[in-house]
Amino acid sequence: MSTSVEAVRDAPARSTQPKQPLSDRAKAERRLGFWLAGPAFIIMLAVTAYPILLALWESLFKYRLTAPSDREFIGLGNYATILSDTLFWRDLGVTVLITVITVVVELILGFALALIMNSALKAVRGWLRTAILVPYGIITVVSAFAWFYAFDINSGYVNNWFSWVPGVDADLNWFADTWTALSVIMASEIWKTTPFISLLLLAGLAQVPGELTEAAEVDGASWWQRMSKVIIPNMKAAIMVAVLFRALDAFRIFDNVYIMTNGAYGTEVLSLLAYRTSITRLEIGMGSAVSVLLFICVIIICFIAIKLFKVDLSGARGGN
């Protein structure tokens, strides 16, 4: 409990609580609150904060698992090596590229799906939702294999089907080139996660007051005008939350790349670099440093989103 109590003390004082002695009832409520929320809080911290601190410590060493006797403290040496290596920046670039493209495509596709679900006839609504939830529930690794086998030059049928498209023929090896390989990786990622974003947007659509859209329609506003002037501005919060969640998720992309190319031909992402360094190469020190840098990137994205774009994450907290 001590962790949570201490941490709570550091939390900003709540303006609604003027400083005055608490009643017994309030104290009891407070205690119950700690007891109920405490276990979940402590577990969440224990499985994340402790390991990341450990990683932070190990990142200061030159340490290879199969050469334990050579372990040596080198301070920030690993970070210097990583940050001066073009590979890190290239992987960061690929990760950012995947994040940006998938989020933009998913936002558009997800918005379309949300609109469809929102205005679908009662008869088909259930079916649409069911269909859309299948990609949401499917295992990412399974999705990766499905897309990989479909495009693979040996086992795939895509080259056969789309041979009429310029640039596609039986000899197109999708996974031998950065751009084609990344397209398939992103397609799998987009397919699997668009349902999530569309459901968030569906919830946002439900927030738009019906009177507003109706009024606009009565005023003769076109579909596009209603969309851009009424609906989208009114669901800005939902869009922002959806984008942030998905961006952070996309930034951690691992499964799809691991299965389809294992990072070959310029498709490597940061998570894979961290995995290969610490788990495949067993360079615990260097790998931990990559992990810490990845973590810092995630924090930076979060910070930018919250400070710059004012994403209100407390949306779910407000109470009634």
Binding site: L65, T66, N154, N173, A176, M286
Partner: protein
Amino acid sequence: MPKDARYWGHTRKGARAAAGVALALGATLLSGCGTDEGAAPTLTWYINPDAGGQAELAKQCSDASGGAYTIETSLLPNDAAAQREQLARRLAAGDKSMDIMSLDPPNVPEYAEPGYLAPVPDDVAERTTEGVLEGALAGAKWKDKVVAVPFWANTQILWYRKSVASAAGLDMTQPVTWDQIIEAASSQDKYIGVQGARAESMTVWVNALVASAGGKIVENPDAAADEIKLGLDTDAGKQAAEVVSTIGKEGLGGPGLPTQTENTSMIQFQGDQGSFMVNYPFVWPATNASVEEGALPASLIDDIGWALYPAMNEGEETAPPLGGINLGVGSNSQHPDLAYQAIECIVSPENQAQYFETNGNPPSNEAAYDSPGLEETFPMAPTIRDSLELAVPRPQTPYYNEISTGIQQTWTPPSDVNPDTTPAESQEFILEVLRGEKLL
């Protein structure tokens, strides 16, 4: 931690199985087991995936031990890099269950150097290396000492389509060179089967090419990471790069070359575009199975021929790739003596021959090739044996993983290889990685 807690935790299921075996044995050998206190020790054998042959050998040797031990198998991942990673992590953590391990030869030094392998007793080393083919034995040594027991050995041979070779006028009874098969394939407008994917198979290819040209990828494999000297930026490296680059640039490897693995090159070879292919013996049972399934024409079998791996220069000897599995014992094993006893049983020439016939993995011991009936299943067995005699292992160094990954990253895709720059760049890159100055 109580001394044996973890050990017993790991083998509870094993103990139960062992008890079952003990009971069964008790029924047949009433007197023999009487003096034994409790169940026979269980040895865990970490095996690479196969068609069930290692599990079968585990059972046979357990039965043959008369209750001295029971071997239980535990499966490692399919991919060689993943196998290494699982074993290395367990060994580094001092796992006591590492009784017997199926090891990929290039990884042996990485385990041997920090003392993760229990020493091979001299008498065992002597008995188990007797008659072992030269190449296979080299893969089981570290700093001139036998540190693991050769089990089976793999090598690539040159597979060819007789029709294509004769159309191109290539005499396959004589040793052929890379230049010859490149010319033959390109004159017939066919694809050459090589493994160009960014994977371990690329290192296998490069190593064989460099060695065939008389070079060595690593000059001083025993050295520490920052003192290693590489032999890529040499004439041999350049010759190797010329072969890779020609096949890549001229499209001789087919469109799938940059992702071509052993399996996909075999599929290409079986098709209309097939001509020559360097590959492992699994090609033979796999092709026969496809023909039986009716997926491939029966005439294909008669069109397939085999020869030694191509040489680099006419009149010089070839240096085919070496693969296979050695058996090692973890230094924290509770029963190293029994483990080595079990290993001696597993690697007996009869068992190696049986494993070859049932699972297609060639023996490391010469004697196994004399096994009757072997040539019926594998008519190319003599070629395989000859190839194993000449085979050159990949660099035997604890930093093999870095070197191999470095080669994979700089020598793929084959069409981007430039004989004038790639060897030097790849050498520089690997050295920087080894010095810890660069990420891999």
